[in-house]
Amino acid sequence: MAEAAIAGPAPRTAPQSLWVVPPLLVLAVLFLYPLALIARASLGEEAPSFAAFEQVLKSGQFIDGLYHTVVIAISATAGCLVLGFILALVIAFVPFPGARLASRLIDTVIALPTFLVTLAFTFIYGSAGIINETLMHVLGLELPPINFLYSQWGVILAEVTVYTPFVMRPLLATFSLIDQAQIEVASSLGARPARIVRRIILPAALPALVAGGSLCLLLTVNEFGIVLFIGAKDVITLPLLIYSKAIQEFDYTTACVIAVVNVVLSLGLYTLYRIVVAHFGGKSAGVV
């Protein structure tokens, strides 16, 4: 043993740094090259120019799409954070039978495709869904009384449902690390549950909330399936706009311009997310 330790590792035939080449190659082929193509296409078909950019960025369609994207992403993320925090709090700290099952269930929701929830929503809240059918029958109405699903709110509700587990997972991991004795001592010092949540649990959960929230923001900015499935006429987000420009109108230049904006937005959010995670440093290690 001692000899081996002194001798050190056997000399290598190739420098260690060469291992970086294959992943870089894959990254280049699968990601950077297509990205470059899109960026190039956004600059017009002939000589590169920002004419298309100027035109698209000023268009009402784009501004409307950007507005919807941002509003939906921020609202859905806020909803995820609030709902996720409350649910995780209940699962972690309120002893009830089936708490373990509940947290397993959350993992399962993460595994499901996002449109599935949307489809289920249509069955429940849609114009021909269970609730509307029942209400129309009971109240003798001609038209479905509940229409929120085909609006921004429908999209937000669906996204909150789908992405809340992404907030809960890091939260539950964090909560399991909180020393029960801290909560008990706080309680013995006269703190009621609300104070304990505010002063003990929330500060401990902050890194997980920020990380989970950033992830949600990232996912909701780029969400396509849910918006498409809800199919609300005047709720067009950037990903949906790209789809309709490229696939329905064959306007590739416009599609690529919007795509570039979308990528910049995503990378910006991702950078923010990394900065925040790095700021919390070791505290959030293993949690996010």
Partner: protein, 386 residues
């Protein structure tokens, strides 16, 4: 320890041990367990537990791991609900009161400081929870930190403190809202031996400074219990095995378990008890007659145990002197300030400690030892727990 005499006598019958101390101080709150049982599912971890900690008194609960000490303490704090019985703090029945309404201080083994708060914020936590005014907080926090010698550390975070310092802060935090009752669950167990000793001194001093504070101190360490406590309760398997004044419990343990757990006594099986003058009695051990105090008034002719502490033995010339026994040395161990000697006598392995000897006996050597009959007590053989 004059106040201790009332509850020295322990019933040797199968009745559960019931502890209650005598004097009632003018101020401070008592802690009362009245017939408290705690169950987890089908497992009963506290059996009809009855004990009173008088106002201003320190009672130590000791016992092996899993004997239910923490459970008893948590029942006072409100974190376990008794399945039967009552818990009293002062004259209040708190059995169904939420923990945050009980006005207690609690200190646990791993300190449990709030990691994202500075030391002064930790200490202020209880004051804020009780709605104390800002100027009261500004005054009280440094006071409490000074009380535990941590005045200079208010602006630090817990992670920047050593274990001993963290425990001091935890004590200051518990005392800041001026609770009547302080619960300590193995507060020194996580500290290394040297710091534990100095903290023990400081806890004793703290209680001298706060004479009205009623303290329930849970530990598995008999030194801590003997150093700090007015009264000691010995627990085993969720039951109170013995309760009494610290000194009297040590000198006259009421049963085998108490004798062995508190001070690792030698228990020599003896028979044919014959009362002598005063509380003296004579018993047969092997071929010899030994004299000891019959503190528990065991009946004539009964079998019993002679409870001899390792340090009560003295070397003697021959085994024919009164109150002496002969044996063969099994092991000799030098520990600097003492010699630990194990010998066999009458089929028993007996431990003794002596001041360091220039020429200790050799293994296999025949020795004779004796003890002062006034230092040694007869203990009833405990029929309940083999």
């Amino acid at each position: 320890m004059a106040e201790a005499t009332v509850m020295e006598r322990m019933p040797a019958s199968s009745k559960p041990v019931v502890a209650s101390a005598s004097a009632a101080a003018a101020s401070g709150s008592r802690i009362g367990f009245e017939d408290v049982s705690v169950t987890y599912g089908s497992l009963t971890v506290l059996h009809s537990f009855t004990l009173t900690v008088n106002p201003g008194e320190i009672v130590a609960l000791i016992g092996p791991s899993g004997s239910g000490k923490t459970t008893a303490l948590r029942a006072v704090a409100g974190f376990v609900k008794p399945s039967s019985g009552r818990i009293l703090i002062g004259d209040r029945d708190v059995t169904y009161l939420a923990p945050y309404d009980r006005k207690i201080g609690m200190v646990v083994q791993n300190y449990a400081l709030f990691p994202h708060m500075r030391v002064d914020e930790n200490v202020a936590f209880g004051l804020r929870a009780h709605g104390a005014a800002e100027d009261v907080i500004r005054k009280r926090v440094p006071e409490c930190l000074a009380m535990v010698g941590m005045a200079a550390y208010g602006k630090r975070y817990p992670r920047e403190l050593s274990g001993g310092q963290q425990q001091r802060v935890a004590i200051a935090r518990a005392l800041a809202p001026r609770p009547q009752v302080l619960l300590l669950d193995e507060p020194l167990s996580a500290l290394d031996a040297q710091i534990r000793r100095s903290m023990l001194d400081e806890l004793a001093k703290l209680h001298r400074d706060l004479p009205n504070l009623t303290v329930l101190y849970v530990t598995h360490d008999q030194t801590e219990a003997l150093t700090l406590a007015n009264h000691i309760g010995i627990m085993r398997d969720g039951r109170l095995q013995a309760f009494g004044g610290a000194q009297s419990l040590f000198r006259h343990p009421p049963n085998r378990f108490a004798a062995e757990f508190l001070g690792r006594a030698n228990l020599l099986p003896a028979s044919d008890l014959q009362p002598g003058e005063g509380d003296r009695a004579h018993v047969r051990f092997g071929g010899t007659v030994l004299s000891a105090r019959n503190h528990h008034r065991l009946p004539k002719g009964s079998d019993c145990l002679v409870c001899v502490r390792p340090h009560d033995f003295r070397f003697t010339r021959t085994a024919t002197e009164p109150n002496s026994i002969g044996g063969t040395v099994v092991s000799v161990q030098w520990q600097g300030d003492v010699h630990n000697i194990t010998f066999e006598a009458g089929g028993q392995t007996v431990r003794m400690t002596s001041t360091p000897m220039a020429s200790p006996p050799a293994i296999g050597e025949a020795i004779a030892v004796h003890f002062d009959p006034d230092e040694v007590t007869l203990v009833p053989e405990d029929a309940r727990h083999g």
